[in-house]
Symmetry: C2
Subunit: 292 residues, 2 copies
């Protein structure tokens, strides 16, 4: 059991972690830091935390595990601020959607990385934000990626792993750079396409009418375009290299598909659609298996 | 009430139409043509049709309304074959996802377009195919677009409109070319993006692993990549011009977004994501209003 968990920046992700650990009886006490007292009051009212403070040092004092759960763009400043309050025995992790940028930020702020630091990324979330949207089952049957560093102590890795497993999640480990490439492909690229598509249509002359005739498939396809713009701005900055790589790769493939439509290249079209359908159907089967 | 409806090519779309009209008591008799007797047997067993024939003339004999419900790519040949069996009093419509190509096919096959011909397109469907997937509620609260021609008789338009309204659908009218532009934007472009995305990822070296770490957002985003490859090949051929126009427009916008990520242009990124989220949220509200 974790004696004290301190969540730095409590919203959907941190709040759901706190609720899940409390429900599982895997934490004795949860404290939180937020910039606004209102957020802490909300977290207290929900029973997600036992104590909240707008003073970072007070919120972190006595922590066994510190989870940095601010937006990725706020992490460099947050690591600067929390560095003086870190003690040698604290386990430190985060929930950032990109990992290279977080490790760089921690390194800049703290200097030599502490042995207790184990970067992490829960593959879970909704289009909602804020602690008010938190719920205990958010991580159930979801994947958590940990990207332990050479400096990470095995005990710290085990503590972070057990914390997430107590929430019902499946924990996997991979390298920082590999994480950022995989997420660029599976999450960051689709978000860019959804945002770009909706924006392209919204700026057409007949945009009002266009949306009138969109059907269910369009609704599913564009759901992720309702995600938080500030968060996605941060991710674009934080994972720039990996995103540019998959964006360029996709753009080349789309240009080839467009050329095939222009040329009426039936073989190319049928092969591409068939290959994609096969991959999507296999993925759907796997996803159903692991998430129901 | 329609005395006899004849469905040419009975699958999900034609089967669901038959079931809906029967449930509403809006048709006395349904006949169908299919290439394979097996399909007709299935439709008979489901109670979707009263009579089926692999002979087109037999299936159409006595029809008050003929609905061509084959894939778009099969329509040119189908109009050639059904032309000799059309009589002056028959109302003729179709369910093709593109309308310019259908009108061209009918014109080539029949010559002067009959006054009973009213092209149509139900904005409904699933990723499933075949009459076995048909269900009576498919068109409930869905939009049906009719694209009446200068040659279309008002009585024929009224008959087709009433047929779809009896299924619980909302019928709207627009021009053929306008239909093809709107659908290219809201349906054909998203399908191309979903196919291209899944195919790009599937052809990466680490594709197996990539799909392992895809989350719920990815599942929704790529659902339409499970659609029928042959059908989408046909649509690419049939609606080539309008699709190329929106594909090029989208590719330019995506190139600008990529450039903004490369340049770290925060204003551009935030503005684009915010505008897209606003449009998506407004669309979602409307969609919920009209489809629940």
């Amino acid at each position: 059991m974790i004696q004290q968990l301190s969540i730095i920046g409590i919203g959907l992700i941190g709040g759901s972690l706190a609720l899940a650990l409390k429900q599982a009886g895997a934490v004795a006490r949860v404290t939180a830091y937020a910039r606004r007292q209102e957020t802490l009051d909300q977290a207290l009212a929900l029973g997600a935390i036992d104590y909240g403070s707008t003073d970072l040092g007070e919120a972190m004092a006595g922590a066994e595990v510190v989870v940095v759960a601010t937006p990725v763009g706020a992490m460099p400043a947050m690591f600067e601020q929390l560095a003086p309050h870190l003690t040698d025995d604290m386990v430190l992790t985060d929930v950032g959607s990109t990992k290279g940028s977080v490790v760089r930020a921690a390194s800049m702020a703290i200097g030599q990385l502490p042995v207790g630091f184990v970067p992490g990324h829960p593959i879970a979330g909704t289009e909602q934000n804020g602690v008010g949207a938190a719920f205990a089952d958010l991580y159930k049957n979801r994947r958590i990626i940990l990207t332990p560093l050479q400096s990470s102590h095995p005990d710290a890795i085990a503590t972070v792993r057990q914390m997430w497993e107590a929430c019902g999640a499946e924990v996997v480990e991979m390298g920082v750079e590999h994480h950022d490439e995989v997420l660029a492909a599976t999450s960051h690229l689709p978000h860019m396409l959804a945002y770009a598509l909706v924006d392209t249509l919204a700026r057409m002359d007949e945009s009002e009418e266009i949306f009138e005739f969109a059907a269910g498939g369009f609704r599913d396809f564009t759901r992720i375009a309702s995600s938080n713009p500030a968060m996605w701005h941060d991710i674009c900055v934080a994972n720039r290299e990996a995103m540019l790589s998959v964006l360029n790769r996709f753009s080349e493939d789309l240009a080839q598909l467009t050329a095939a439509i222009e040329a009426g290249n039936s073989d190319y079209l049928l092969q591409t659609f068939t290959r994609a359908k096969g991959a999507r159907d296999r993925f759907a089967e796997k996803f159903e298996d692991s998430n129901t």
